[in-house]
Symmetry: D3
Subunit: 311 residues, 6 copies
């Protein structure tokens, strides 16, 4: 079955979808309706449910799985789903939320296996032990969390997808610039965003936790490195440097790093993080664009549209 975002205007729909977001509304003549955002692995689509009542509002909430019949139509240049039938999925139909979440193309187990291979290349015992301690502590969430609530790698297992992609790039770069310390590079990349598993709520309807809002993933992880070192009775410059790598990976104070990078590995991790995030957004945007045309505006890329060449 084709993904919901791949259908053309006029095509019929009859499939299971996950309610990502549900909002009540009132038409200008005072009649209640609901706006739903429905998703499957391919992405999401907007849908309207007219003439709703209170029962609809309690039934069709975020995170519910529904079976929907309807048709794709065009609304102001964007596809929308006109709902004709809708009902909740039954337990015996065997549909899982994870079946309907967009997620990394590579299975998460393979990604974790690849991450582990990079981890084994870390030689410094202090760095290696702290890194292992924190991977193990957060392993379950690391495998399924997105890297962000929107923009880049904002899908199930997006976090590990992003980390592994950065590790691959850092390997090539370490060969070209051999003064870089591979142990710091690999450990810094593995740890830099793990704080996201505390900052965010999870892969479905991703939002910020209170702790995420008040402390942020950077401070959360800097704390955890300190606590890990205490627990493992590790002292030495390595602890401070790993904390610095996490602290500074946004590159500038105004982007949320209380210190700018002050070792070369920190500077490079900041570059690699940026490249991988931007390429993830660009690739997805260009994938939806025809040759000779421009992508939609990409807010985190200074709101630019990118051109797709014709050759």
């Amino acid at each position: 079955m084709k993904g919901i975002t791949k259908l053309q205007v006029g095509e019929q729909v009859d499939q299971f979808l996950l309610i990502k977001q549900a909002t009540k509304g009132v038409t200008t003549v005072g009649k209640p309706f609901m706006s739903l955002i429905l998703q499957d692995r391919s992405g999401d689509i907007e849908a309207k449910l007219w003439d709703t009542n209170e029962e609809h509002e309690t039934t069709y909430r975020a995170e519910a799985i529904v079976r929907v019949g309807g048709e794709i139509h065009d609304y102001r240049g964007k596809n929308q789903l006109r709902i004709k039938q809708i009902r909740l999925a039954r337990g015996d139909e065997g549909i899982q939320i994870s079946d309907l979440l967009p997620s990394a193309t590579t299975p998460k187990e393979e990604l974790f296996e690849e991450l582990t291979q990079f981890f084994f290349e870390i030689k410094n015992p202090n760095i290696s032990r702290i890194t292992r301690h924190l991977i193990k502590k957060h392993q379950d969430r690391l495998l399924v969390f997105p890297a962000a609530s929107k923009n880049h790698h904002d899908y199930a297992s997006g976090l590990i997808d992003h980390v592994v992609s950065m590790l691959r790039l850092s390997k090539a770069i370490c060969e070209l610039y051999p003064t870089l310390n591979k142990d710091l590079m690999y450990s810094g990349i593995i740890l830099h965003d793990i704080g996201k598993v505390v900052e965010l709520t999870g892969p479905v309807g991703t939002a910020y936790t209170v702790e995420g809002n008040l402390l942020g993933h950077i401070s959360i992880m800097v704390n955890e490195i300190g606590q890990a070192a205490t627990e493992l009775k590790i002292e030495g410059e390595e602890v401070m440097l790993l904390q610095h790598l996490v602290l500074s990976h946004h590159g500038k104070e105004e982007w949320g790093s209380p210190k700018k990078p002050m070792i070369q590995e920190a500077e490079m991790i900041h570059y690699i993080d940026n490249i991988d995030a931007k390429m993830n957004m660009l690739t997805r945007a260009l994938d939806k664009t025809k040759p000779g045309e421009f992508t939609e505006r990409l807010f985190p890329l200074d709101n630019r549209s990118f051109y797709k060449p014709t050759f």
Copy 2:
């Protein structure tokens, strides 16, 4: 005896002074000399030592106490000390470095006693226990460290002087704006800058430590609050809020706070910190200025000169 900064041009000098900084130079005709910055409790003054040799350079280093004879003269509108005799102080002359450091006017013991009174007003047991733990841990350094290497409260015991001044102001403000939580206010103020005792090297020749440069006093203290909570087995929102108070007290990302204030007590601590720092600089600058004239330019106050009214 008058302080070294209170002397007029032409007055004779014969007193013990602390070398704050010593730099070698070569005149334009190739002769070696030394530039010294000499200080006592009243502040510091520049001095030149001509026709020096290697022995001078090894003898007259920073942190040495010297007995100096000479005269004040004017150099480009600023007082300078022309050295006629100089020698190292002898151990039996009984001069301590602390006798020659500028420091808070109120004795540090009295300041600590006042801080303790404020501490006792904290009712919430979690907040109280974490605060006591960290005061005790850093008590020795808290009593003698400056609050900064330059600009405001940059003298021995400047840190506790600043903290107590902020506590007094916060007390008045809590009465005027009763929705503020006094426990969070007092604890937040006591803890907000203690990280400086790790960030800075101490009251003499104050500089940044490597950890101070790479992590900064904010992250250092956020970590310590986390570690204290673990050690004291304290859980609950209080821990996160104290961390947030420290994290956000610079007010903005570009000023080194990875999160802006997101509770009202954090917002207010940021204001109080700012007022007390600025008033410390302003009062000292105006103290050196005659009515009807302008202070020197104050860099952290947007490089402004302030006018001292004639009435």
Copy 3:
């Protein structure tokens, strides 16, 4: 009777309300309707009036008092008033506009009495005479004007409420920082915003006057101080300093002060003004927020949401 903003969804309404704003609209099928903003002392609420005609448009205008029957319902997460009956209030029903305006909690007469007490503490005769002259000139409007058209102290008598609150805070601060000149502080605070009575139109449907737009309350008041001094035949530095205090109270050129503060009292008045304005907004926003949740975004506080702790 409960204030209009205190009612829950589903509660019935039958009370007098003031029309703050009335806008015509057309539904997407071409039928006319009106959007009304209705207010009482507790604040305001949006309401829709369907199927309106020209008579409705001329009857239900801003500043009219109406008797409304209806019910509270939820529209996109905000309360709205569904109007069932509406009519103009009759003169014999004795409802005044001032009965329906949000206003300072303390009666304006008490606030003025408190302001007068502070005024009596001014010792310098030149400062005292200019201040009295301008208080008397604008006394009527000073008692009823808001301090702004939106954001902080944007209610009847908000201006004097703000001024008195600043005076209280400045009293505490003058005790802690005794180099501050109390005469300049009190007079500067009393005068700093009086220009608002020319800049704004008044407490109902507050907007900017042409003079407010083209000159602004700062320049208006600087002029008035000059004119008062001429009239009272006062010469001397005090006139210039009072003008400077008003001129610089926004703190920076980009915030509308043609000169930054250049005396310490000016710097401090800028801080106090800021604190009182921000706390007014914060207190009101937190008052509407449940513990464990965040306030709505507050635009003048960098668009931040603030968290309300659970303890």
Copy 4:
């Protein structure tokens, strides 16, 4: 006699010069000397006086006229005057300070005559009366003051030179854009900078007065327009508009205008002021530059160097 800035390295000097600035110094071997800035109508040059004593320091002060013998030499690529003889000018030698000040090329009386012609074209009686009142009040200083202490029109009569040049340009512009009100344009230009006669100390050793620092020429003039209107019993929109023209002529809050231009004449006066100031600097800088080379860096023009074409 050639102006002091027109002499080549190696040429002999024997002429009267004005001391613009005098600073004491000490050589690196402790010998006193003085740095003088000496000027005549052509501009200024640096000079050193070696082995000075206290008598030199009291004799050769700023604003003294001296007779100097010496030679031009090159110091780090800039011309410097090597003093061989120096003495104070005697009263009977008949040299006036004004003989040695750089000043506008056109005599100030001619400039004032031209300004008067523009003034007579103002038709609106309110605008005309206020303008005449203020021209008369400040006429003496308007004729001799510079427009600034440095950068543009920073010479005797520079203010009126600048105003007349702007009037000429505005005449051409009013013909091309006929919706502009000529009365507002001419009066606004005449008044916009007159506050400088209070802001600055005068044409010799130009500095800021206290009032200039604390209020600035913009607020000073806005006040004077208000006072003039009161005195002349003029009411009406013209007063407010003239005040707005002065208030807004720096164009932006961060450049010292508390309000941005809000009438078209204000916008245009801001442009004309900018063009005339920039062209004054550019013309003088290019005048000193050879074809095929770049001018020195011009700080108020974003620190740019300008190229002088070879054709």
Copy 5:
């Protein structure tokens, strides 16, 4: 017949109009409609067409000429056209698109004649030949293109209107500042924006071409000057200076000029360009505003509203 923007609410419409833009919509109850922007020489107006079907959507597209019957009504304070009848214009009715486009008031042939007169004043043969070559190459489009897709001179022949207006202003300025090189001024103004004929699509439904987006009119024209010089076998500083004039006319890097102005003529062309663009917007906005009121907000003028005086 009155222009469509000059009609009052309630007036009947029956005339030919050009569809500038056509957008599909769906009402909140799911019924399709179209939003049209219709224009004639006086400007444009919004209109709604209810209960549309696919045939409407294919018939009433941008650039179609239609005959419309209907009535003006008020929608949220702006005039809107309620369509009662609509049909396509027939070929035999003889209406051209150019009859319905807003355009320069002066006929394009007269503007071109005036431009030619300025061109003839250029003396330098290299500058003259390059300028003529490029005028001839782009003459057809230069006569009809707008200077922009919105904001200033955004109408048919707006480009040449803008260029000629700048030439007139530059003539007056060259007389007042005689160091300016008239050849560079006139040629620079003529060439500075011709790249717009490649950057934009044309006078109807003006948009950016792909080349316009990726290279921009500045780089396009700098290239063309280079190519013209090669073709005409012209060498010498003139080529580089003309390229620099075009390159720098936006004044700053952040406004799209890769180099700031570095010759005085470049600086002045930047000022003249700015003045003419701003006055074009201001004049049109004030023309629609009553005395004593403010214009709508003008985005390119810092989003300001301008006041129209009452006298």
Copy 6:
């Protein structure tokens, strides 16, 4: 023989050096001297020549090769060379300027061979032909020019060193992000900075040419691509895209790119350029720094000092 920058304080010098810069000075007692910057392949050092006369000044100019005897001493913490003997090198001593210029470690012929290999991987004939044309046109200068006058790759053959390093990195990146077009990447990198061979004067005493100042290497190269396409009769999107790659490689308008990157290859070339430039500076600065210490401040890296870890 050890390079001049590798010598310790106290070591004797007797070797050929190139005068990079020569400046006249006068001591505070009026005696002339010269400041020289002398260099060999290892870098440069400052030296003073006392009691100079006019003959010295004409003999010891920039680009002269001299034989110098002397000793290294310490001046304010930096090494300086005390000259004892100095004379011009004689023609028969066979020393070339290129023997004394710092340059790329890899021989320029090898770098060019590697660049050629990358070039051969370009498949698109239009891209390939334009690229070859421009490589050939500038081949001589491309082999010896630096990439900048200071900061990164500021040595002989620095330009080709930088380009080849970027090509290596882009190869690895194209493998990790396969949607990137290799032809555009390789050609864009080869061409992006070739304009430097016109913008700069050459490898000795590198400065900006007039054309470099007024047009800049970006516009120069965009022109050359256009001219090459005309000459080779190539049309098609490739020309525009290559121009866009060069145009946008500084990433932002304020950094001198008139257009931001708008194709993904442009975005990536900007990242790669940045990484390679920054790593070049960082590696050289860290090379001069001991473990446990900080580098000097690096201006183009936000003036940061970088820490060199101890492990």
